[in-house]
Structures are given as structure tokens and as C-alpha cells.
């Protein structure tokens, strides 16, 4: 504890009006000194890296302005109990469901990052997987099924455009699978 702190502690003990601002005792003063040292250590040792800041800025350009947003309504990863039931060959399969007003996207990702998905209601569509390195475009079969051999690392979003329909395309929220 430095001299300023001591002075502050003493002053606030004398000034009874500043009830909630006073140090009740030396233990609290020591605690706050620890906090302040930690605060400057955090600034010094663990600042936001410049590339993280740049990446946050650039996500603005990735908004899907004209798409309908499909939100995550189910993720087996979040649900402990269900997770235990969804195992195939000893490896965990993760199931996620995205929902937009007129369309649902259901997907399963294996431990080996193989993804199978389906557009519901069943219909042919073009599905675009957006990821850090660009986009992967694929066409579903007539039942709306599609697959991705290896899902890219990092956050991804799926954009789905039903073929033969004037409906707006749908983009899922970003998720790290």
C-alpha cells in the first residue's frame, strides 16, 4: 500500500459522511491495492491483440443485410444431458438447428468435422458456407440434404437460397462448430 492509499484510507475513516467510500479496515485496503496492481498487470500482460481488434472491426463488412436471419434454436453442445445420448462410434456428434420464419436448417457435425445438413421443409437450395478464409458453395439434393467433408475452423455461417423460389435467402448466425 502506498502513501496515497494510506492517506485516503485515513481521510475516509475520519470523514464519517463518506460511509460507502471508506475503507472499513486494513484488509480491504490491501485487497484494493491487489486489485490495482492486477489492473495494471492486465493492461501490460494481456491487452487485446491488434489482429483481434482488426478482426472485430472487419466483421461489420460480413453482415448479411438482405438475408433473413436464422437463429440458433438448438445446440446439443449446450445441453449436457442430451449430449450423453448422441454418440456414434464412441465419438460425439453435435447437432445444431437454425430457424428462420419460413425455413429450418438442421445439421450434424461428427468429431472428424464432417457435416451433414438438411433444409426443412425439404427443397432444393444453394447453400453457401461462409468462413474466415472465404466461402464454400454447394447445392443440396432435391430433399434439401447437403454435406461438408471438413468444416473449417473458426466461426462459420450458412446462407441458404432455395432454388426456384423468389423467397429471400436465409443466413444463420455465426457459430464455431
Amino acid at each position: 500500500m502506498n502513501a496515497d492509499d494510506e492517506a485516503a484510507a485515513k481521510a475516509s475513516r475520519i470523514d464519517g459522511a463518506a460511509v460507502h467510500l471508506e475503507w472499513p479496515d486494513a484488509a480491504e485496503a490491501a485487497r484494493e491495492a491487489t486489485f490495482r496492481r492486477l489492473h495494471s498487470l492486465a493492461l501490460e500482460n494481456d491487452p487485446v491483440p491488434p489482429d483481434v481488434l482488426a478482426s472485430a472491426r472487419s466483421s461489420f463488412g460480413l453482415r448479411s443485410i438482405d438475408d433473413e436471419l436464422a437463429v440458433l434454436v438448438y445446440d446439443s453442445m449446450i445441453d449436457h444431458e442430451l449430449l450423453a445420448n448422441v454418440r456414434s462410434g464412441g465419438r460425439t456428434v453435435r447437432q445444431v438447428t437454425f430457424e428462420a420464419p419460413d425455413l429450418v436448417l438442421e445439421m450434424e457435425v461428427s468429431g472428424a468435422r464432417y457435416l451433414v445438413g438438411q433444409v426443412v421443409p425439404s427443397q432444393a437450395a444453394v447453400v453457401e458456407l461462409r468462413h474466415r478464409g472465404g466461402t464454400i458453395q454447394m447445392e443440396t439434393d432435391e430433399l434439401g440434404c447437403f454435406h461438408v467433408p471438413v468444416v473449417p475452423d473458426g466461426p462459420v455461417s450458412f446462407r441458404c437460397r432455395p432454388t426456384g423460389s423468389a423467397a429471400r435467402s436465409v443466413a444463420t448466425s455465426w457459430i464455431t462448430l
Binding site: A42, V52, L69, P155
Partner: protein
């Protein structure tokens, strides 16, 4: 009076340990402008809250690369939801909750979720050994940071967010961490005491087998 150096009442300034100048930002206005396509407004939001999102990820014990991914997912999520943020004044809590959810998901996926059982006396993993080394060789600052890194997950996550600039208020923290607002202050105090104990002036003595978290109780009474 030295503690009024930033025009703040001493207790507030010293207690929080950070400056409050950023609270002047009109978050609602920035959100509206960003939703309308104003990139500068978006950048201002990033500048204000990037530290908070980063602190959430780091506080959950994720390394730099994973924390970068959490941050990216969180900001992409906000970009998609600019029009649907219902309470702009609680944007910090929205971002923190979203980042925390991603962290828990990632930890579970990597099967790295640290349970309380893996931690002895409030410290986890190999960090405890590194701490003794640091105390001996690199001085108190390094030791304090190592001790912080080694804190049990509950302490570390909460403290790291409180160290962010700007940190969240207790009401928002209570939502994000799903803990009663009344317990945040006491938990913060207990975690800080634990750190203080471990990095006291006689490091090796305080590093010895003292009676765990009980050491703090005696001092506070």
C-alpha cells in the same frame, strides 16, 4: 487530494481501479448508426467493448488463439443482430453473455472444462509450481500475475472481467455469470484476498501449507 486526480471521489476511483471517462459514450446512438451502415459507429463500439469481450475469453482460461476466435464469433454475432438489440444500455452485458456462452461451448467441446475438483486450495494445475518460481526469480508483479492465472475458474473469470476497461456493473455481472448480485462483492473480496495471501511480502512463508481459504476469514473479521 491525490485521489481526486481524475475528478472522481476517492473511494470510487480507487475501489474500481479504472477511469470512468468511457461512460460518456452514447451506446444507443452508436448502435443505431451502425445498424444504418455507419462503419465509424461500429468501430467506436468495437473500441469500447473489445476489451470486455477479450477479458471474458481470457478469464475463462482460453489461450490467445481461442480467445481470438471467441472474440470474432461474438462480434460477428453483434453485426448480425444490430437491429435486434433491445436494451442498448446493456450492450456490454449482451456481448459478455454471448462471449461467455461461446467460451463454455468451446471448453466443453475441447473437454477442457476445469472442474473444481482439479483445483486445490483455489489454485489449479501446474500454475502453482510456476508461482513459486516466479516469486523467487521474477519479483512480485510476475508472481501476482501467475497467481492470477492459476486462480480457480470462478475467481478468474469474475476478476478478469472486473479488470476490463470498462468493466461491467454488478447488475450486469450478475446476469452474465448467473449469480446473485449480493454475492459478487464478497466473491471478489475472497478472490483478491486469496491472491494477496499468495503474493505477500514473505512469499515462501505464505506459499506454505496455510489453512486454505480460511486465511482470509481471520483477517476480514
Amino acid at each position: 487530494m491525490p485521489c481526486l486526480s481524475e475528478g472522481l471521489p476517492c473511494g470510487l476511483h480507487v475501489w474500481r481501479g479504472y477511469s470512468w471517462h468511457m461512460y460518456d459514450v452514447d451506446v444507443g446512438g452508436l448502435l443505431r448508426r451502425a445498424a444504418g451502415g455507419d462503419e465509424q459507429a461500429w468501430d467506436a463500439l468495437v473500441d469500447r467493448f473489445a476489451g470486455l469481450v477479450w477479458a471474458i475469453a481470457r478469464g475463462h482460461g482460453l489461450n490467445q488463439a481461442d480467445s481470438a476466435e471467441i472474440s470474432r464469433t461474438t462480434w460477428l454475432g453483434l453485426a448480425e443482430n444490430l437491429n435486434s438489440i433491445k436494451a442498448p444500455e446493456r450492450l456490454g452485458a449482451w456481448l459478455a453473455t454471448s462471449a461467455r456462452r461461446e467460451c463454455l461451448r468451446m471448453l466443453r467441446q475441447q473437454e477442457r472444462y476445469i472442474s473444481a475438483e482439479q483445483c486445490a486450495d483455489g489454485m489449479c494445475g501446474d500454475h502453482a509450481l510456476a508461482l513459486i518460481d516466479d516469486l523467487a526469480k521474477r519479483g512480485q508483479g510476475a508472481a501476482l500475475w501467475s497467481a492470477f492465472e492459476a486462480l480457480a475458474p470462478d475467481c478468474k473469470a469474475l476478476l478478469r472481467v472486473l479488470l476490463a476497461d470498462p468493466p461491467l456493473g454488478y447488475a450486469e455481472l450478475s446476469d452474465v455469470f448467473e449469480m446473485p448480485i449480493g454475492s459478487i462483492g464478497p466473491v471478489r473480496a475472497r478472490c483478491l484476498d486469496r491472491l494477496g495471501d499468495r503474493t505477500a511480502l514473505h512469499p515462501l512463508r505464505s506459499q506454505g501449507r496455510r489453512a486454505g481459504a480460511g486465511t482470509t476469514k481471520g483477517r476480514v473479521s
